[in-house]
Every structure is written in C-alpha cells, then in structure tokens.
Symmetry: C2
Amino acid sequence: MLLYHDTRAPNPRRVRIFMAEKGVAYDAIEVSIDAAANRTPEFRKKNPLALLPVLELADGRILRESMAICRYVEELHPDPNLFGGDPWERAVIEQWSRHAELELLIPITGVFRNTNKYWNGRIKQIPEYAEILRELVAGRFDWIDGELATRPYLAGSRFTVADITALCGIDYGKLSGIAIDAATHPHLAAWHARVSGRPSAKA
Amino acid sequence: MLLYHDTRAPNPRRVRIFMAEKGVAYDAIEVSIDAAANRTPEFRKKNPLALLPVLELADGRILRESMAICRYVEELHPDPNLFGGDPWERAVIEQWSRHAELELLIPITGVFRNTNKYWNGRIKQIPEYAEILRELVAGRFDWIDGELATRPYLAGSRFTVADITALCGIDYGKLSGIAIDAATHPHLAAWHARVSGRPSAKA
C-alpha cells in the first residue's frame, strides 16, 4: 500500500496514527500542499478534489478520504480493532468519531483556513467566520471536558478511531491559537496527555 | 426503536430514507426545530448538542448522529445492505458517502444557515461565506456530473447510503436556490430523477 500524504496536514495524520496503532507497514509519498503538489494534473488523476490522504493499492486501485482508508485497513487488519467489536460498540464509536470530526476537526480546520497567513491570497478568507467557529469550538471543549470526566477515552474505556480524529483536530488548533487550558478543562487535558503519550501520536 | 426527527431537516431525512429502504418499522417523534423543541433542557438530555436525529432504543440507550444510527440499523437488518457487501465495496461506498456529505450536504446546509431568513437573528449569518460555499457546490456539481456519466449511482451500479446523503443534501439546496440544471448537468439530473423515483424518497 502506498499512502500519499503531507506530514503537516491533519487528515493524513489520522491515517498515519491509525496505521501505527495497527502496526501496518506501508510506503508513503509526501505530496506537499505548500508546493501545490496536490494540485498538479498528475495528482488530480488520483484525486480530482486535490485532497490528501490518498491510498493506492498494489493493483493500482485508489481510495480517497481518511475514514474510508482507515475502515478498509481495519477490514484487512482487524486486530486490534479501532472501530469497535460488536454492533453497539461500533455505533457508539461512530457517533463519537463523527462528533470529533464535525465538532472539532472541521471547525478547527476552518479557523486555520480563514485566519492563517498561509491561505492569504490562496483562498478568500473570512476572519469573521473563523471567530464563529472559534466560539463553537470553545463550547465543544466545555462539553467534551464534561464527557471525559466519566471515562478515559471519547467512546469509552479504550482508545479508538474517535480519539485519533479528536487528537488530530485539537493539535491542528495550535496553529490558530486554539489550545486546551488544563485549569479550565482538566479532563480534556488529561485525555490529551494520555493519547499524545501513545507511540502512534508521533506517526 | 424511537426516532426523534424534524420532517424538514436534511439529516433526519437520511435516516428515514435508510429505514424505508430496509423496510424497518420504527416509532417517530417530531421535534420541531422551528419551535426550538430541540433546545429544551429535556431534549438536551438526549442530545446535548441539540441536534437531530436521535435514536432511542427500547432499553433507553441513545444514539446520536445520522450515520451512526444508519450503521447500527444496517447491523441489525443487514439485507439489503446499503453500506456494502465486501471490504472493497464498503470502502468505496464510505468514500462516496463522505464526498456526498463533505462536498454537498454540509456546504449546502451552510448556504442555508448563512442566507435564509429563518436563521436571521438566531445565529450570526455571513452571506459572504455562503457565496463561497455556493461556488464550491457548483464546482462539485460539475465533478459529480462527470462521475455519474460512467455509472447510475454514486458508488457504483446500485443504490447505497451515499446516494441517500447526496439526495438529502441536494434537495435541501432548493431552499437556497441551489438546483440541478439538466442542460448543464444531464447525468446528475438523471441520477436525481432515478433516486427521487424510489418510494423511500418520500420518507
């Protein structure tokens, strides 16, 4: 398997952490978003949306979208499972996985896109919209801190794909001044230390 | 099973169509977003995010998030499957399901939120941001029209959950003046007629 990724982007990191948790080996090619290597006609043949990550199989088949890639890898390498072991656990993990994406990763990415000088001149930025997202994320931190008061990981007693998404989202927030304040959100901070301490977090 | 929904919102509709395709019976309670019934302390016990849909099981367990609900129903009622029958098919359906959500449903919902008078005074609207989303969706229509030139459904030769998400997203666009122009996007228009003609589309 060949993974097209950018070491600095949050979505490819989700796949790299997932692979590391599974102990799955793969080849990787860096596609620099900074150098617009994702926007070349050649790369657009692999992904017309010019997004990363992309997985290419040995027979040439292409798979886009971080969660489609992770689910496929889970099927090929079921242990340890990160999407759940029975119907109800899979449903709860999916619920938290979506919360992590829709309430953290996506809005946090939106703050970056609409405020960081990196995107200045590349896209039309609306800092006013970023402030709305920033406020939303602050509220989600409050909520998730309360949730994590009751259990060590987002979806329950063990580490799952939901934690991977939340970690990649929150860490990406550092570039936009979004950080966990341990005094205000002690449970979220403890969770962050817990998941960041796993070897996979360096992937 | 008891489904909390709002007949006019796109995410509950995804679940209703999914249930109809499966032939699964369920009870339903309308939670009017218009009347702020989703924002009461009582409903927030079921979903602190005040979002719909929510599924409540007979034993009181609660599941939030449309796709978590659909996946759980798929596990209980596997035939006909709408998430795929083997690892590769499941991966491809997941890829298209995410494209349908991230590239159609979510931006189209964003246009509505930032322009419709319904939200005026309820949230801070940024019409300028809606225009960015509108342009993005127009580009996605171009892309998906080309994809649908090669096959009858988003993920391949048969109807899947990816088509449900795309249908709910595109139909919701009507409220914001987003519509398929059959002259420009004939394949997308033919697909829309095909999926809208299924009995489940009325659910």
